[in-house]
Symmetry: C2
Subunit: 186 residues, 2 copies
């Protein structure tokens, strides 16, 4: 049974075959919004997936001191991915370092607290703008995909919708908190 990272790689390889390097790139953009991994995790994990029969590789042309390998998801990998995808995840809480800082923010001066929340708000605003741009691009490229849930495009769109909603929720909360700190300054 692969680890969560293994399933993240399978979820990408089930769409299209890729090299380890390309998987690393994908860990920045679409999937990077909710999962990340460095290349030093990816390469050993690919070897583990292969020894378990979940992926298979072929050597292709490429530069560098070692073979360039393109990995593809096998039928067994696809089955394992589908089974894992519908299992309910552990209901453990998601870790949120900012909440921890907010929980301790009363120990620091209000001006510094304001600066922290303002910076967070700006970061969320920037991510929201990025998601809105992707949303427009997505609608133009896959006009029908957003209505058929059995396509990989719909699945990607569903995660984007969640991202949009999440950033708006966070911005709203930052605004509420800033209004409270504002009141206290007067």
């Amino acid at each position: 049974m692969p680890s969560t990272l293994g399933f993240a790689l399978l979820a990408l390889l089930a769409r299209t075959p890729r090299t380890g390097y390309e998987l690393r790139q994908a860990m920045r953009e679409p999937i990077g919004f909710f999962w990340t991994a460095s290349h030093s995790q990816i390469y050993p994990e690919l070897a583990r997936l292969e020894s378990g029969g979940f992926v298979r590789h072929r050597v292709i042309d490429g530069p560098g001191p070692r073979d360039t390998k393109r990995y593809a998801c096998t039928a067994a990998g696809r089955r394992a991915l589908a089974a894992w995808a519908i299992e309910a995840p552990e209901p453990g809480p998601e870790r949120d370092e900012l909440m921890l800082k907010v929980y301790a923010i009363w120990t620091a001066p209000p001006a510094a607290a304001r600066a922290l929340i303002e910076a967070q708000r700006a970061a969320h605003e920037a991510r929201l703008a990025r998601y809105e741009q992707l949303d427009v691009e997505f609608g133009a490229q896959h006009p029908t995909a957003i209505v058929d849930p059995s396509t990989p495009e719909f699945a990607a769109y569903a995660t984007l919708r969640c991202g949009l909603s999440y950033e708006r929720h966070r911005i709203g909360w930052c605004d509420w908190l800033l209004s409270r700190i504002e009141v206290a300054r007067r």
Copy 2:
């Protein structure tokens, strides 16, 4: 410099002294909503905090084969906590296993996908109800705290507000996703 877990413990000890066991309890409820740790992490971390001068302990009466220790935050601990609290956290993405599953959900039958999202919605609804209950209790117990950001009560309330907003955002997204899968069934 303590680890993030160390600061989580300091954030609790800056409010009131506690034993390792009591810290473990706190890692379930208020703080457990955004951070967790098992006792096997807490006890070694307390020893590390003490050797760094951030906390201090006194032996108190208690059962069991070993001394019962009550830890308190020192002035140095309090300073370190305040400095850490206003530092911007790394902008790395928060990991979300459910998003990963949704990203792969197109490989599974729609009925199973529906069941997964319905279960998630129910879990969020339950947490929302819990937070709403805490909100009412909080308003009754600390009527003035929610307007003064320099109190530990306000800080706890701010995290609760974020939790309420988060659960509503997730429920809204689950509803949207369910409506899409519904349409597809017909």
